[in-house]
């Protein structure tokens, strides 16, 4: 018994992602804008971390830097003790506008990363089938993205990102373009899938409910320049069903994070006016 527990805590405690004193400046119309300033974060393996913050606080920029799409102006990002220098398949990215290839079917989109990574042909079909059924889209295999609803598109993108088995998932407001009902359903679906895969996830959102419902930790960003205002541990039991949204603990978390966020939003507003 204790052996199992030890193993579990050992896995829990090995840091997967280490960010040290990260700096990011933009130049916007000749003016230097500080997006991130001396930013530090450690994420452990198998953790689901949500990032919330006022708009323009640099949370999306941070995620793009993790993805290797944008360079930093100082500091380091290490994944499994190796520094990140550019985009790579060890970090799977889920975009808000899906980034599905309109000329490929559902099947074609999910198999694409396997083609890119030269996964043996014999194995590809089985992998695609597995993830298509995991997101419940087996019947839509031959549909083109234009024929799918927003929620279905994001499920295809999720299956695609899981198919190439990255070490860590980066999600950039993946459900931001969905309507309220689809959003909740997708959150439940993601929670269910995460329970089965237990990937490390960094999830950027502006929706507090989404963050609490999904994450083990909610990181609240300050207004620009982005720093960690507070790191809130969400100790709700898993697996989390839809009823958990009605529990008193949930409401407490919600109030706490909303208060933290409100301060920052007000501060950002004063600064801009």
């Amino acid at each position: 018994m204790s052996e199992i527990l030890d193993a579990a805590t050992a896995i829990q405690l090995s840091p997967a992602l280490v960010v040290k004193s990260l700096v990011k400046t933009f130049s916007r119309q000749g003016r230097a804008v500080q997006a991130l300033d001396d930013f530090n974060l450690t994420v452990h393996e198998g953790e689901f971390v949500a990032i919330v913050g006022p708009s323009g606080c640099g949370k999306s920029t941070f995620l793009h830097m993790l993805g290797g799409f944008e360079p930093s102006n100082g500091g380091t990002i290490e994944l499994d003790a190796k520094p990140i220098t550019g985009p790579g398949p060890d970090r799977g990215m889920l975009f808000q506008d899906y980034a599905l290839y309109p000329w490929r079917t559902v099947y074609g989109n999910i198999i694409w990363p396997l083609e890119v990574q030269h996964v043996p042909k014999a194995e590809r079909a089985a992998i695609v089938e597995r993830f298509m059924s995991l997101v419940g889209l087996t019947h839509f295999r031959d549909h083109y993205p234009a024929e799918l609803s927003g929620g279905m598109k994001q499920r295809v993108a999720l299956a695609r990102v899981l198919a190439f088995d990255p070490k860590i998932l980066l999600m950039d407001e993946p459900f931001g373009a969905l309507d309220a009902q689809n959003r909740e359903l997708m959150q439940e679906e993601l929670s269910r899938i995460w329970d089965r895969t237990r990937k490390t996830v960094i999830f950027v959102t502006h929706d507090i409910d989404e963050a609490i419902y999904l994450a083990d930790r909610v990181i609240v960003f300050t207004a620009r320049p982005g720093r960690i205002k507070q790191d809130v541990k969400i100790e709700l039991p898993r697996p989390r069903g839809p009823d958990i949204r009605k529990s008193p603990e949930y409401t407490q978390y919600r109030n706490l994070i909303w208060d933290l966020l409100r301060e920052e939003v007000m501060r950002a507003r004063e600064e801009y006016n």
């Binding site: 790579g88 506008d97 290839y101 993205p145």
Partner: protein, 262 residues
């Protein structure tokens, strides 16, 4: 019931095409009214007879083949050259720096006035015409390819790089398909240009081709034949345009709406 739908369909067809008949009827009336010289504005029946004459004498086939050959060779060369140049400019920085000004500054310059020069350089025959067609078509195709390749959606590129795609995969599987619609608009602009230039060069100085029949017949006051030849040029243009639209639907199937070229 069945009758009613047939009636509906007929009515719909009339509603969608009546203006063509209005214009044709107007032409007939003007031609027979005596207000204009019937020689200058022959009736449709006369044009039809002349057209049939062109068909049966084999003239249409002979000259039409020459016209199409020139147009297609010039256009084909421009497709290869334009797509290659546009791609290189979009992908290789020094290529971009060297050639982009040549295309952005040269685009609005009327190249037709170079035709006399081309005649001296490439001779009076096919080559000078083909080269002018090539030059005129090269510009829209190159520029559209360039912009199509440059403006591939950022997330699509990011997503592929995220999966570890190498630059070759990125090019063939992402950039080429996402540039395809733009390249096609370039082709659709270039097709009428190819025909226009072919006909112009045949009108100005030549003894073969459909454009030559138009100008030669007009010079001999055979306006009926001239109009008949014009009509056949129109048919060629129309058919090519429809073929291109069909091809586009087939190749770029994921984009349902086919926007106009302008």
């Amino acid at each position: 019931m069945a009758n009613q739908t047939v009636g509906h369909k007929a009515l719909d067809l009339i509603r969608r095409t009546y203006s063509i008949f209005v214009v044709l009827a107007a032409w007939e009336i003007v031609s027979h009214s005596g207000w204009v010289s019937p020689r200058l504005t022959p009736g449709i029946e006369k044009i039809a007879v002349e057209f049939w004459g062109l068909v049966t004498s084999g003239d249409l086939l002979f000259h039409g083949r020459i016209t199409l050959q020139r147009a297609f060779i010039g256009f084909g060369l421009a497709i290869f050259g334009g797509i290659a140049l546009g791609t290189l400019m979009a992908r290789i920085r020094w290529f971009d720096i060297l050639f982009e000004p040549l295309f952005s500054f040269g685009y609005p310059v009327p190249k037709i006035s170079l035709y006399p020069v081309f005649i001296f350089v490439f001779g009076f025959g096919d080559l000078s015409k083909i080269m002018l067609i090539f030059l005129e078509c090269l510009y829209p195709i190159t520029v559209h390819t360039y912009y199509g390749m440059k403006s591939a959606e950022r997330v699509l590129v990011w997503a592929s790089r995220n999966m570890g795609a190498n630059s070759q995969q990125l090019f063939w599987r992402v950039l080429v398909p996402s540039a395809a619609p733009t390249i096609f608009s370039g082709l659709r602009i270039a097709v009428p240009v190819a025909l226009i230039v072919t006909i112009i060069t045949e009108i100005i100085g030549e003894s073969k081709g459909l454009g030559y029949i138009v100008s030669f017949s007009a010079a001999q006051f055979e306006y009926g034949r001239s109009l008949a030849a014009m009509f056949s040029i129109g048919v060629v243009g129309f058919v090519i345009d429809r073929l291109l639209i069909a091809l586009r639907k087939h190749i770029i199937f994921w984009q349902k709406d086919s926007m106009p070229i302008v």
